[in-house]
């Protein structure tokens, strides 16, 4: 059985003038379908770089990234956009919602780019907002919502196109502990009830405790990869 995500000697080198930074150094990893994984490590260890490549937002310098058995490293810009649209939902630390735009319209965005008709778009988006517990807030402007609510909108946007993977780079980084736990509860439900593979980046052991697998990075390499008994309740 092929893993959902399979990386082989994934390497990313940033060149800044004369010096070059090896942000990822031969990372070989497999993540199966419906896993719930946390990626941890010190600042600058390459977590975001890894997530951006998994999310098809960036390309590796060398190595392979197989998504459901298909090598993504050499796909065209157009094909990568389609993958981001249909198969992956990305959640950012800073929410990245469109300003002066309602929650509903923000959630509809991926559906616009997959040319879903307006009625269906609306229906699916309302459904996604319900899953993240934001029913009744669909017409609020994104910047009139609290941080926790904005992150829920972002999660609704990530899941609206029924992706198989949701990637979240420090999704609770800007939130207080209680709100963070609520958000993690949402991810856990998406994983357990909807069977979505969820990978989150976090610094906090409390947050990582929700997941079933911990992968630790240091200097662009995986130094630890262990199973975890997830904490129940929030």
């Amino acid at each position: 059985m092929t893993a959902l995500i399979d990386t082989r000697n994934l390497t990313k080198i940033y060149r800044l003038g004369d010096i070059s930074v090896k942000a990822l150094d031969n990372v070989t990893l497999s993540i199966g379908a419906a896993e719930f994984t946390a990626i941890m490590g010190h600042s600058g260890s390459g977590k975001s770089t890894f997530m951006n490549i998994l999310g098809c937002l960036d390309r590796p310098t060398s190595g392979q990234y197989l998504l459901e058995g298909e090598d993504v490293s050499n796909l065209s810009v157009k094909q990568l956009a389609t993958i981001r649209n249909r198969r992956i939902g990305f959640v950012f630390q800073g929410y990245n919602l469109l300003r002066r735009t309602s929650a509903l319209e923000n959630v509809e965005l991926p559906l616009i780019y997959s040319h879903v008709p307006a009625k269906e778009r609306r229906m699916k988006s309302l459904e996604a907002l319900e899953i993240v517990g934001l029913s009744g807030h669909e017409h609020h402007q994104s910047n009139q919502l609290s941080g926790g609510q904005q992150q829920r909108v972002a999660i609704a946007r990530a899941l609206v196109n029924s992706p198989s993977i949701i990637l979240a780079d420090e999704p609770t980084g800007n939130l207080d502990t209680r709100t963070s736990f609520e958000i993690m509860g949402v991810f856990r439900r998406l994983n357990s009830d909807h069977g979505i593979t969820v990978i989150i980046v976090t610094h906090e052991p409390d947050i990582a405790a929700f997941t079933r697998r911990h992968i630790v990075f240091r200097d662009g390499q995986v130094i630890e990869d262990r199973a975890n008994e997830p904490r129940i309740g929030s």
């Binding site: 951006n52 999310g55 937002l57 960036d58 810009v77 157009k78 956009a81 389609t82 981001r84 649209n85 249909r86 990305f90 950012f92 990245n96 919602l97 469109l98 002066r100 965005l109 991926p110 616009i112 780019y113 997959s114 040319h115 008709p117 307006a118 946007r157 196109n161």
Partner: protein, 408 residues
């Protein structure tokens, strides 16, 4: 579906920066207004000229003394007339394509009635003149053949002359003194308005040609005429008519082959071409203003779109992260610059129409507004929007998603 969404995004972006959008559109507004005024004046002028040709008759030829070519040795001075009444008679009798001729001889004279006096052009001609020029009377009658033959002391007055000499008095049957010669007013000509060159055609007195020759403006050679107006039977045989007249007069004036002619035959469209040239100059001027403004406007749009792309780099990143294709981003920004230029176009059209109306009211430039002109203006502004919007839109579309997301 995607277009309408992009349209809404574009309109929102414009609304968010009203003042900036307006300033950006200024160049387009001026350019489009200039295009509208230019076309309005151009088509107004040509419509007026066409109407004038038709009213005078596009089948009109004018035989004038003097050579068509300048220079060369000619008999006497160039101003001496060489055409005679007999030439006019011969043309109507011998040229099969000719319908009517009207010889003309005249000058400027003072007309006096009671204590009023008025100086104006007095034209001696035959009643064919009025048939040729399709000119009717508001009162009285034209000259009879007898009156023309007998150099009768009768006159037809244009409305301007009537107004200046008679005021409210009925002029028919009254005696006016033209060059001290008492003449009876037998008719008043219908109002004709301005000529293509802008003279008042109603400021004129018409008398029988013989009266002009013998009694008013004596000639050293009897029967001399200044010009001969010729009406062809059909406007499709103008060239043939011209040749018939030329051959006949060559023979009558004993012009040997290759020598300079002492007359020339002109048609009206050549004369009106001069009037058209004036309008062309005006159009050309407005055309250059339009072109420059449209280019400046286009550069303004390009500039503001580049600013917009930079300001919204993060938004572009977000859209790409959720799956927008390069073509989606390109379309979005192209629509935005198109909306910018088209809104500018609409304002420009409104301004242009107003300007054309004002121009029509304040001067006698004829103005004609056609839907083609408006379409042309819109096409121009759309072209400017797409042309100058393309580079910024492409720049947006080619952003790298991760760089765009990181942009602060």
């Amino acid at each position: 579906m995607f277009i309408s969404t992009s349209l809404r995004i574009a309109l929102n972006a414009l609304k968010a920066n009203k003042m900036r959008s307006l300033l950006t559109m200024l160049g387009i507004i001026i350019g489009v207004a200039a295009v509208v005024i230019m076309v309005a004046i151009g088509s107004g002028a040509s419509a007026k000229i066409t109407a004038q040709i038709e009213s005078v008759g596009s089948n009109l030829l004018i035989v004038v003394p003097g050579a068509t070519t300048a220079g060369g040795v000619r008999m006497g001075s160039g101003t001496v007339s060489t055409l005679t009444l007999a030439d006019a008679e011969a043309i109507v009798q011998n040229c099969p394509s000719v319908a009517r001729v009207a010889p003309v001889w005249g000058g400027v004279a003072q007309a006096v009635y009671g204590n009023q006096n008025w100086s104006t052009g007095v034209t001696g001609t035959t009643s064919s003149m009025f048939a040729i020029r399709d000119w009717t009377l508001t009162a009285g009658r034209f000259f009879t053949v007898q009156e023309t033959k007998a150099a009768a002391k009768v006159a037809l007055l244009g409305q301007t002359v009537v107004n200046n000499l008679f005021g409210a008095t009925d002029p028919i049957g009254e005696i006016v003194r033209i060059k001290k010669m008492p003449m009876q007013v037998i008719g008043v000509l219908a109002v004709k308005g301005q000529s293509p060159r802008g003279d008042d055609q109603d400021d004129a007195i018409y008398v029988p040609i013989t009266t002009a020759q013998k009694r008013l403006f004596g000639t050293h050679l009897p029967g001399l005429v200044r010009v001969i107006m010729v009406q062809a039977k059909d406007m499709n045989v103008m060239a043939k008519t011209e040749k018939e007249i030329t051959d006949l007069l060559d023979q009558r004036h004993r012009i040997v082959k290759g020598a300079d002619r002492d007359f020339s035959v002109r048609n009206l469209s050549e004369i009106l071409a001069a009037a058209q040239a004036a309008y062309k100059t005006m159009s050309l001027l407005l055309g250059s203003i339009a072109l420059v403004s449209l280019i400046v406007g286009g550069i303004g749009i390009m500039n503001i779109m580049l600013v917009s792309v930079t300001e919204r780099t993060r938004e572009i990143g977000i859209r790409m992260a959720v799956g927008a294709q390069e073509s989606d981003i390109l379309t979005q920004f192209l629509i935005e610059s198109l909306v910018l230029s088209l809104v500018g176009g609409v304002i420009g059209v409104i301004l242009g129409l107003t300007g054309a109306e004002i121009m029509a009211a304040m001067s006698d430039w004829p103005v004609l507004i056609s839907w083609q002109a408006l379409l042309l203006a819109f096409a121009f502004s759309a072209m400017v929007g797409i042309f100058f919007g393309f580079y910024p839109a492409r720049k947006a579309a080619h952003l790298n998603p991760i760089d765009a997301l990181r942009y602060e």
